[in-house]
Symmetry: C2
Subunit: 691 residues, 2 copies
């Protein structure tokens, strides 16, 4: 084993002497210069910001103010109230207007709204969530599910004069929204809906804005009309919850969740309804309406599709949550990397000065691998946000009617939903792991609240759960893959699978997810030249995509087998395949993230320092992902043991090469200094700050 | 891939039809009965409690009182003060006396003290840490480093009348204790020591009891005597920090860390000294003394060994910290498992009732794998605690003199230190990961503070850092392995390594770590019969130990190579081997944990339900550890791809088999109901609690 661990940088000639690699390793990168290039950070920032550079720069400038840092003083209610001025600053800068369509009086800039929320995640996730609840969830429900008769709610919502609650989750049903128990029963006598919580498990829970500030709620409930026994499915209705004196409305019981694991500034509470009457017009009737006589109509005939169409308007929240998790992760990495470049501990021996943490190999590995992944996820985030923006543009311009999409639009929407779900899952999982790692990498100082890491950890913790539990979301990705596969294959018969040649990975990629040209040509180049260097971008993409497709293929086989069983046994088999479905989803998202990196590096001039750095970031992300799944690659004979060892050695070489550039890599995030410049960077025990 | 995923339980006959396993798989366990045996929980509890059953039962009974739950109300100072009554209850039950030697007026029951602290971790880690600081660290310093002239501190310390601080860590030097900067300079004129913080980085930080309750401190400082330029090394001195009015003593500056990521009840603060004078007698002089004239003497000649002997008295704290982390992890698993057996979400289809979370495959995997590891770690904890007890007994009976140990005693002490370090590292890492997983597995309810998981997560977070950073501790294990290896080999020459036959793993185990007979005979049985069934306990041990020894062997090779380089290059090479050293340490601890499981199951009657369950727990721990390191096993040709796939399939089968026993497995922990019976188990949205 010793030979593979020897650093290529110091002993390139002797590397792997026993068994020469089978590839022409013409792509092996040289170690980067040990003195970083000053311009590179700026060049990288432009790439990372992508098409949203100006929007991001604007809000970063605004956030460069300690006013935006997390507020942890006083009682819980003090912390809750302290968020209101933050939201007001946000409103004054116009972000609340961006969330809403022009038709409803907003400025109709969903990209600015999403980027704004996401970037707020650099500073304070409580503020991000509170803003998201008020404008994205409550406001978004009105904007997306309501019609002109609900327009009057919008302006006071944007202006923070009407604080709203988004009441979907019930204590009995979180992820399983279709089974919600709250009822909205139409009474033609009075032309009212009666909102009721028929069972204790129908209580609405975890609702932001409910415990303290909320005046009104968008309540999801099973809709019943006279003479129809069955529910028309889950619909959303506007229910006032507090009167002008801020007391609960008659029939409304409000609870307070009190202390949570984090997000202490968000006033999460509960709502129960005891036959609360609201006017008929309070039904948000874009996708389903009840007339005065009590007749139900909907522009979408299928109850199932109607349900999913309503839910699909949630997508923006999911994208913002994933984005904010990524932003908090980048801030955490920024802080931990700067600390690692300033903090010294342990001398290599004798009178030599103690080494900076970043000079220790184990510290490089623990910080730079997640840093590379953060690059990949930020770039993927850009792509998904751009697609959302395109979808919203089509809606605004009347090109897309959600109630009546073309087949192609429907497929595009499904894919966007799947990507948004998967991106939220992979980003929040990455956040939980990476922020934890950053905290530990800063030792005891990392545990002091003033250095922000523990607050980011505590606040982001629930991001893996809300806006869709990750375990459920990543299965959505797997299911969308399976559906697309069945669609493409026409059938799941073995003969077809063989006939369609699953080895031609690149064809499938092209057909199915509209990859960018750069990625495609990298793939083609790798295939054409039969180049399987571990450092070839195209080969790396094919390795990650191959894994995703292989798991999908074997999953499809299991699903096909299950079709022959009776319902109960089939359900057992499908459940047993759950970890398989989940694995397919994760593999898919890892592949997409790599593709975003490949795409981005193509935009930088060849041989520029920024390009060289970004290529090694991409190598590090790709190879560390492969090493993480080494078992799979070996078990499926995709990579030999020797090549996996080479990948491991390369990961070590890459962190050594990138270490002197670590500060450049975080500078490129452009995080305002008032955020990252935490006390521990300025205390004794670290070298003087370098700015 | 499909064939390996098919459940053995439902289709045993067809399993792995393509390539029959090379082993005689006579050990393949049958699925457990789906109705658990009531007696099994009690039988398992006895095994888990080991020789400490009575002690554990006593304190569990005391803890069955909501008085001991974490206190999160009010201001930070309220939370801090709320811990004092908890410590008083602990004192009244005699635990504080157990910490101290009979010679000093204690009751001399270190095992009861350690088990008490550890078990307190089931309920409240803040209380555990506060008690640990007062009696274990401050009190332990006096008890272990002091002499008769310091005895008068002990009684008020035990009685909570004298609150003490353990002032070791400085802001400039946490892990690197030898480089501390605080000075203690002897002044023969006045026969005083002058305690000084010569630089800002000499400030003592993160000190429990300092911010609010502490009156006195054990301060670690470089010791200087007149006429000797060099420090005699780090020594510990008693320094009063607050006067009778609780104001800081002259020259002492006290700071408050305020809000931290957790452990809010512990009043961590800072101390700086401006030429503070204390009497000569305040030097804790067991291992080094200064006479009136200023002459330094020590019973230990080597400065290095003296330093490590003083540090070795820290070992009890480390063992208690690892134990408490394990206890908090078990409570978290207990809560998450019970929630999983009561909470329903998603119906398999049609009108079928929603399934319990534990019925979903992915949920079984996420909870039962760490549950199996918790079994292993608790059993290893017992062994290490027993060794500590034995060491303390030898000290108390005058058989062991720490200043003058026999060669054999020295080796035993080193091994105990290494085990304690490694156990603390593996236990706290397991805690951080598992409690996080438990929180996520309980969804939004898991994020509410009343359900305890977020507090366990936040409080245990810093356990990976304090009492020795895990990254440093696990390297201690690697280094001890390397030292033992060099000792055994006499030299590290290749010829010797070959001659000593590293393939004979079992010989090395026997020689080096005094394994128990059961493990040895399992190993021997596997070797004798050439039985390489993945379910054979002996073969499992050899697989885990083989990994640990192989990494060690290749590490030794790198170290040997470094010896030929000059100092600077050698340091670079050694640092590059850091991740290698770390890997060796983790592998070693994983192997030891498995050995503890094998040892324990031997104590249960063959074919008893408890034994069958424990065997599958052991299978699950062993095989999931192997799968986690699948890449290594394949790269080193220890296991074929086919066998790794079998191991993966077995992990799935095992969680299916164990799932109906999940509540039995956590019942066996014996955690008091007043702790695990959190609100979410009694709310709507779960099936009625089953007790």
């Amino acid at each position: 084993m010793t030979s593979t661990i020897r650093s290529r940088a110091t002993s390139k000639a002797q590397a792997q002497p026993k068994a020469p690699a089978p590839s022409k390793d013409i792509h092996i990168p040289s170690p980067l210069p040990t003195t970083p290039d000053a311009q590179a950070a700026e060049d990288l920032r432009k790439i990372l910001d992508g098409q949203f550079g100006e929007l991001r720069e604007d809000i970063r400038e605004m956030l460069d103010d300690s006013f935006f840092l997390p507020k942890l003083d006083g009682t819980i209610d003090d912390m809750r109230d302290a968020l209101l001025p933050v939201l007001e600053r946000f409103r004054d800068a116009g972000y609340s207007y961006d969330s809403f369509s022009r038709a409803n009086g907003g400025s109709g800039k969903p990209d600015r709204a999403v980027i704004g929320l996401e970037t707020l995640g650099h500073a304070d996730l409580s503020a991000m969530v509170k803003a998201g609840v008020q404008w994205g969830l409550w406001g978004g429900a009105i904007d997306n599910l309501g019609t002109e008769r609900h327009r009057h709610y919008i302006k006071p919502t944007m202006d923070l004069e009407l604080m709203g609650v988004y009441a979907m989750t019930e204590i009995g049903h979180g992820s399983n929204v279709a089974q919600l128990q709250t009822t909205a029963t139409y009474d033609p006598e009075t032309q009212e809906f009666i909102i009721n919580s028929p069972t204790p498990s129908a209580m609405k829970v975890f609702l932001g804005n409910a415990a303290r500030h909320g005046q009104i709620a968008a309540v999801f409930a099973q809709l019943y009309t006279p003479g129809v026994a069955e529910s028309h499915g889950v619909h959303c209705l506007v229910v006032p919850i507090r009167d002008e004196n801020h007391n609960p409305m008659p029939g409304v019981t409000i609870g307070d969740h009190g202390r949570k694991g984090g997000l202490l500034g968000v006033d999460n509470g509960t709502l129960s309804f005891d036959n609360v009457r609201i006017p008929r017009e309070n039904l948000l009737n874009r996708f389903g309406d009840v007339d005065e006589a009590g007749n139900y109509t909907s522009p979408i005939e299928s109850k199932n599709r109607r349900f999913f169409t309503m839910l699909s308007t949630l997508i923006r929240g999911r994208i913002a949550v994933g984005g904010a998790a990524n932003a908090a992760t980048r801030t955490s990495l920024d802080i931990a990397v700067r600390y690692a470049t300033q903090r010294r501990q342990f001398s290599p021996g004798g009178d030599a000065p103690e080494k900076r943490l970043i000079e220790h190999r184990s510290h490089r590995l623990r910080l730079l691998i997640p840093l590379a992944k953060s690059y990949a996820l930020m770039l993927l985030q850009n792509e998904v946000t751009a697609r959302l923006y395109e979808q919203q543009r089509q809606i605004a311009e009347g090109i897309l009617d959600l109630a009546n999409p073309t087949e192609e639009q429907l497929l595009a929407s499904r894919e966007l939903e799947s990507w948004a779900a998967g991106l939220k899952a992979i980003s929040t999982r990455h956040a939980t792991r990476t922020i934890q790692e950053c905290r530990e990498a800063c030792g005891g100082a990392g545990y002091m609240a003033e250095n922000l890491l523990t607050t980011f950890k505590a606040d982001s913790d629930v991001f893996t759960t809300f806006e869709g539990d990750n375990t459920v979301l990543i299965q959505m990705v797997g299911k969308e893959m399976l559906t697309a596969y069945a669609r493409d294959m026409g059938d799941l018969s073995t003969i077809d699978m063989v006939r369609y040649g699953f080895d031609e990975v690149s064809d499938l990629i092209r057909r199915r997810s509209g990859l960018h040209k750069t990625v495609q040509s990298a793939l083609d180049a790798a295939r054409r030249s039969n180049d399987n260097s571990l450092f070839h971008a195209g080969y790396q993409v094919s390795l990650l995509e191959d894994r995703s497709q292989s798991i999908l293929k074997s999953l499809a086989g299991r699903m096909r087998a299950a079709r022959k069983l009776d319902l109960e046994d089939a359900a057992i088999e499908v459940d047993k395949a759950q970890d398989h479905l989940i694995a397919a989803g994760w593999a898919r998202m890892e592949s997409l993230a790599l593709q975003s990196l490949v795409e981005a590096e193509g935009k930088l001039p060849k041989n520029s320092p920024a390009r060289q750095v970004l290529e090694q970031v991409r190598d590090l992300y790709a190879l560390s992902t492969i090493v993480e799944n080494a078992g799979w690659y070996e078990e499926h004979n995709v990579l030999s043991s020797m090549r996996i060892r080479m990948a491991r050695a390369a990961v070590r070489d890459l962190v050594d090469s990138l270490a002197p550039w670590a500060e450049v890599l975080v500078d490129a995030f452009g995080i305002p200094k008032s955020i990252w410049n935490v006390p521990m960077l300025n205390q004794a025990g670290v070298d003087g700050p370098r700015y």
